[in-house]
Subunit: 440 residues, 2 copies
């Protein structure tokens, strides 16, 4: 079946205004005006009717949509309930940035969301003032996101339980290690109809096997929880430099129906900005796995960089890493989709960004150049912070060893051996070489 | 069915020498010794027998091999014919590098290949000497690959027809624009049993539609032709810095059988080196499409870099670009495989390398920073050379316009509009934005 064809704003304008269409004409048209949106729908309906004819005209055009980022066609949201109230839990660098994005959208779509967004802040003194008061009067998070103006409808709240009162959507955005404590405080105070999105990356590996952080929230609080992940360095998003992200959410069993409950359309309206393009998919496991394992691959890229092996080698590591991420995801979460890894911002794009810089690359490069251990490198470079890949590669190794599957993941295993068993980085190529031919 | 499990050399050693296995013990074992190879086969057979038991023990291990780079299991080559004679046509930077790789392997596997490799050289004077004579006496290509020692069994030959005399395998590695002339000279001089590999990237777009360069060789010379492509900056490969590549080859209808004709095993032995890891697949179309279109994506990355939009945006462009490359490949070559694009060196890895540097990024960054046109930028930066993406994006646009499919490829179209129609780079995010929700 041929789905409704989705047009970019650009191609839409070119089609509807073939004569007027010049750079100047384009820029003076009001963006997102009612006129534009209506015309867009008409164009797309027209496109639906004519697309198949176009395709058949050309013998080389075998397929229409081999790749499609999400299944949703153009749709209009008619809310059949009170606007959703949103609370962001967390106010660090990334937490405040996401709260800014959300508050801009709740203001814009005020018939879908309550404009006021609460942000829970772990309160602290900045000089004589409370951080909460500074945010609520000067509208900047001077400690964790300085020099970025925050919307006035974003309200900092130091009281966790007060901040979530009446909330329909909770957005978790705190450091991984604080999650259990926060969740414990919330237990018994969250109604089952509440929905959540976790901006925390990754999963936990323990005796129970691989557990997604979103599943942890669901298990502990009894609410449906999705995830947000992507190639998003917080300072760039805060400055409204263009980037993309992926939101993953599965409709729960008690889904209330279109216009009555959180779904992919509602989540797109909540997170999508002109500078922050959002794709919403089902695959929570896929984006969580990719979000955690990319850090292990980034360590290997850091080794390669430190050894001075150049761009070919770094690209090879990323290719191999993507393959092992997909293999790991498909092995332990067979419901996750291969496309998520190679086609989503939370997959290949986040991998590329993470491998081009950041804490893991920094630590690994330093190890290669100085011969120091991972712990020494972390200590000297990161001011008490940690490179997540160092922890993740050990957890992954231990889990794969339990499964007797370490040999299926030669890159992950090589990183573990280099970090923890003093194996030489020079041996990396040999450790991942596939010997599938013999010339005897 | 469970295929034979392939082990890396590293995991093999760990399994066969659990006590001895330390970094030192590993290094003193002779590499590729007969002992090692025999043990490897035994280990793998053992592994085959026990793998399934291991898998079933662990409830989380749902699949064994969701991703496998090639279908070949461990195999031994028994040649049932005279050793293959190989000629490399071309002696530039990349041509000489590949000839070096090949000559190292023909020497090593002298019962499979004739050790002497001929390399056709477009002869020219270097001072008073012929380049050919310099290569054959000093064993360096002083003009195109200086300071790299070449194997003595690599013989430069200025006579094209003489160089291919008796050759069983031709490796084409000349600039794209010289191919028609070379092929014309070869017509009538190449026996139908000869096989070829093209190291030229890409395809031609003309009135006939999209034609692969390998198909062009097949059409013009009547011989089967595959391709080699990957994340391979020639100088790094020449210096034996570790990298990977992809060779693609389909067995022809007149395939003579195992040990009698060129196949995936023979090609792996011909190109694989400890520093140059080769994967051999069937998908000639996939690696050729990826090799050409990556240059268009690299232009977009250059715009982003020149605009100072940062790593998030560059990663987003690469993600989008990979999606459009896959879509283009699947649309016009439905036999090409999605895995080729996201799992091979010639796919995602080459895209990453190309987007992290090189001529296309350089030209596009300069355009963004100075406001100059593509042609001006090329002229000022490239000394008469061209950035391939500038040509490819126009060819792709014209072809897609013929098919009325430009709107299906918003990134390729945006690059074309920016380069040729003076559309503003600032509009790039809007041009590729997907409008699939309306909140009315």
């Amino acid at each position: 079946m041929l789905a409704v064809r989705r047009l970019t704003r650009y191609t839409f304008l070119k089609r509807t205004h073939p004569v007027l269409y010049t750079r100047r004409a384009y820029k003076i048209l009001p963006s997102r005006s009612t006129f534009l949106r209506r015309s867009l729908l008409q164009t797309q309906l027209h496109s639906k009717m004519t697309a198949h004819t176009n395709i058949k005209q050309h013998k080389h055009c075998h397929e229409d949509h081999p790749i499609r980022r999400s299944d949703s066609a153009v749709s209009i949201v008619h809310l059949k309930r009170a606007p959703f109230k949103v609370t962001v839990i967390g106010s660090g660098n990334w937490g405040t940035t996401i709260a800014k994005v959300i508050a801009e959208n709740t203001e814009l779509h005020s018939h879908i969301f309550e404009p006021e967004v609460r942000m829970w802040v772990f309160d602290e003194k900045i000089g004589d003032e409370n951080l909460t008061d500074i945010i609520n009067t000067r509208h900047q998070n001077v400690k964790y996101l300085p020099n970025i103006d925050l919307p006035h409808n974003l309200v900092a709240d130091p009281d966790l339980l007060h901040s979530i009162k009446g909330a329909d959507i909770l957005v978790f955005n705190i450091p991984h290690q604080f999650l259990p404590n926060i969740v414990k405080q919330l237990q018994g105070h969250v109604a089952p109809h509440v929905r959540a999105i976790s901006c925390l990356k990754g999963f936990e590996l323990g005796s129970k096997g691989v557990q997604l952080l979103s599943s942890y929230v669901t298990d502990e609080l009894g609410i449906q929880c999705g995830a947000l992940s992507g190639a998003n360095l917080a300072p760039e998003v805060a400055k409204e430099h263009w980037s993309e992200t992926t939101v993953a959410y599965q409709l729960p069993k008690d889904y209330q129906g279109d216009g009555k409950d959180v779904d992919h359309k509602i989540l797109k309206l909540l997170f999508h900005r002109p500078y922050f393009h959002v794709n919403v998919i089902d695959d929570v496991a896929g984006i969580s796995i990719a979000g955690a394992l990319k850090n292990v691959v980034a360590l290997a890229c850091g080794f390669v960089e430190g050894m001075g092996w150049g761009n070919n080698a770094s690209a090879a590591i990323q290719r191999l890493g993507l393959g092992e991420i997909i293999k790991f995801g498909r092995m332990f979460f067979p419901e996750s989709k291969v496309e998520t890894y190679y086609q989503e911002s939370a997959g290949v794009a986040d991998l590329i960004t993470t491998c081009s810089g950041g804490r893991n690359v920094k630590v690994a490069t330093y190890m290669a150049k100085t011969g120091k251990s991972a712990l020494e490198a972390e200590k000297e470079l990161l001011n008490g912070q940690s490179a997540q890949g160092i922890i993740t590669c050990r957890e992954v190794h231990e889990w794969l060893q339990t499964c007797e599957l370490t040999q299926e993941f030669p890159l992950f295993e090589a990183v573990y051996q280099i970090v923890y068993n003093n194996v030489r980085m020079e041996d990396l190529p040999e450790m991942i070489e596939e010997l599938d031919i013999d010339d005897e």
